[in-house]
Symmetry: C2
Subunit: 149 residues, 2 copies
Amino acid sequence: MRLTQHTDYGLRLLMYVALKNGQRCTIREAAESFAISRNHLMKIANLLQHHGVLNATRGKGGGLQLAKPANTLRLGDLVQTLEPDMALAECLGENNQCVVTSQCLLIGVLSDALHEFLRTLNQYTLEDICVPKQSELRSLLQIELVTAE
Amino acid sequence: MRLTQHTDYGLRLLMYVALKNGQRCTIREAAESFAISRNHLMKIANLLQHHGVLNATRGKGGGLQLAKPANTLRLGDLVQTLEPDMALAECLGENNQCVVTSQCLLIGVLSDALHEFLRTLNQYTLEDICVPKQSELRSLLQIELVTAE
DNA sequence: AAATAAGATGCATATAATATACATCTTATT
DNA sequence: AATAAGATGTATATTATATGCATCTTATTT
């Protein structure tokens, strides 16, 4: 049972953007900081854009920003947005062929567990996983905030 | 986020064996009832054998039985036994390369959610998902118990 | 002993999901 | 016009998973 790297990278990107404290950041710079594929991050950024989590602006001086305050972005919701398929087993997805489906009690149990998983994640926001360690994280990611003059 | 079919099939096999009420069953018959790959089920049965969940006996008249009472087999434990990899993300597995690991607060959050997932599953046993609907399930699986004379 | 019926095991292959790369396009700024 | 950013579609690579095949071992029955 794994989340896709897609989801993992998506969360990292959001942490990166959040740590920029409202200053725009480019996908390239985030990809380089995490040493991960820029092309891959591009599609993730795009998906998050379409889901209203990120604002992306093209062109020179463009880049990414959070579309909402970090303390309103709940991790369970973000995982659901990023993850392409949350059907834990055949019986919870499409094209279910299992012969016992109509009477199966496992289905409810799995739904229940998945629900608890997401509920637990939703107890945390993007802010919760960034702010308490923001200076340490910025240092690891080599993020330097431009101070206003 | 999906469990492997391996895990799914493993749980189905255990339900099948449990519904046989202590009577031996062959892997072939379970595979045919669920219309799934016999070879695949073979390996799953073998794994469950090695983990002390199933008893398997070879030779004519052989087959599978539960190694423990169904009400002692908790679903969370079974999923952990069957699933090859429970590392939700790179940071929770081996070969983690993520640069923020040392300070990352997401790791704890993910562990927490995984823990709640398994805790929820462990509130149910194999008995819980078989007994309440046993006659309906036997009928769907074409299991006919041999009555003692 | 031979035949048969079961599981055990190792290897090979197929499939599908995921990740990555590449090329080109669009948008915005300078 | 040049440049710097994201957007998008297609192709390819990689990996995990599932499946199939062949052979071996064990146990029972005849």
